[in-house]
Amino acid sequence: MQTLSEYIDIFIRLSAVYVLLFLFFILNIISISTPVAMAMDIPFIVMVFYYWSIYRPTLIPPVLVFIIGICYDLLSGWPVGLNALILLTLRHNVSSQRLFMTGQQFIVVWLGYTFVSAVALFLQWGCFGLLRLNWSAVEPILTSWTFGVFLFPVVSVILHLSHKMLPEIQGQYSAVK
């Protein structure tokens, strides 16, 4: 009975993480319309994958990243596979740097996100332009990127709270104490 209750406990804690992931995914699909600018898509999913790639990459195995990327492409009208490829590249590269990133102060992680999201959005823009032979305006992408950079601390706090709920894993690097 004890073991079963522990498994249920872990399941509930993990569910919180995946429910949050799903919510941010849906938010990424729903463009948020602002009075000063046209509708724009804030890269919430990039924030989530960036965070978990550093602190707990086992939560987002490549197959999950691939499925989410494909769903995003199918729902948002992107060429199928484009965002899956970008998110997989992001996960692969960021998780390879996690030894360095895990022990850093938040400002360094934030700067890292600033760079990573810029690269991800630039890749989206470049790949889309090449595939459709149509170069979209850069201003809306810059606006999305800027909003994303300013919202990252807020999203990080939410993800950090869900991270604290997770059971600690021996031999894993974690910034959450």
Partner: protein, 289 residues
């Protein structure tokens, strides 16, 4: 007593170890290696190539995915739509006052035009009877709530909560209260995707009302679509109303679209009557059989 305490501590230690082992196994054990990353990246590249050369092959998958996610998009999207509307209303308060006086003046002018229109309508009817002209105006409509607005920099489209169940068909024109919005490009059972008139793939045959000049309104993924295929010697006045010409049979004739403005490059753009940022419900026009 000491032995009991030791046994109890041992049991506790054993329980903690089991818990940690379980925790280590639980977070999705399959495929965390760079090999699986590479495999999925390769699959992604193949899918990109397939969707670039044969985009129609993924239409079914797009419709099914949209149908699956429709309830979640609707539930999560609703509060955001309300907040967006509220923000728009608040920021528009100052403009409302200016609009009110402008509308009062316009209303006076429109009353005069209304009388003229009544006279013209009567004249038109008698002329039609004389010519025995059949006007194709038999359209019904389906109202659909917007589930998601994928108005990003690359794709200008809307996902609406109506599909084949409501009788929607591919290619049907979509309008809002003010004017043309776009056309249906993908139809699922419960959801459909609408391509907006400012999407780069949108081409609408239009006519500029005051000059009668025909043109194609081409989306550029910017706020205003452009007017193309206009002869060089044509004079088009700024502010002229643009309506659909009905050529090609996709859009019914005479749907209001917007007004002509000149851009900084000397080209002509159309300021759309429909404000896509505040849309919540659209009407899909269906030709009655």
């Amino acid at each position: 007593m000491a032995i009991h305490r030791q046994i109890s501590e041992f049991k506790d230690l054993n329980r903690r170890l089991k818990f940690k082992r379980a925790a280590r196994r639980l977070p999705l054990p399959w495929g965390g290696s760079s090999v699986s990353s590479t495999i999925f990246m390769a699959i992604s590249v193949i899918l990109i190539a397939a969707s670039t050369f044969r985009p129609a092959a993924f239409e079914g998958a797009r419709n099914v995915t949209a149908d699956i996610f429709a309830p979640a998009l609707s539930t999560v999207g609703m509060p955001f739509q309300q907040v967006t509307m509220f923000l728009h209303n608040v920021t528009n308060l100052a403009q409302l006052q200016a609009d009110k006086s402008r509308l009062e003046e316009e209303n006076m002018r429109l009353r005069e035009w209304y009388q003229t229109a009544l006279l013209l309508d009567s004249e038109n009817r008698s002329l039609r009877e004389l010519l025995n002209l059949q006007v194709d105006s038999s359209y019904s409509h389906v109202s659909a709530r917007i589930l998601a607005d994928s108005g990003n920099a690359y794709v200008k489209s809307l996902l609406v909560a109506a599909g084949t169940d409501e009788g929607l068909i591919k290619g049907a024109a979509v309008v809002a209260g003010e004017g043309l919005v776009g056309r249906v490009v993908e139809v699922g059972e419960e959801t459909s995707r609408i391509i907006l008139v400012n999407d780069v793939n949108s081409r609408v045959p239009v006519v500029v009302e005051d000059s009668g000049q025909h043109a194609i309104m081409a989306g550029m993924n910017e706020q205003n679509p452009r007017l193309i295929h206009i002869p060089e010697d044509t004079t088009i006045n700024e502010g002229a109303r643009v309506v659909t010409s009905g050529y090609g049979g996709v859009y019914p004739q005479g749907l209001p679209v917007g007004r002509v403005v000149a851009n900084e490059n000397g080209g002509l753009e159309v300021v759309l009557f429909s404000d896509f940022n505040t849309l919540q419900i659209v009407r899909v026009l269906l030709r009655e059989k």
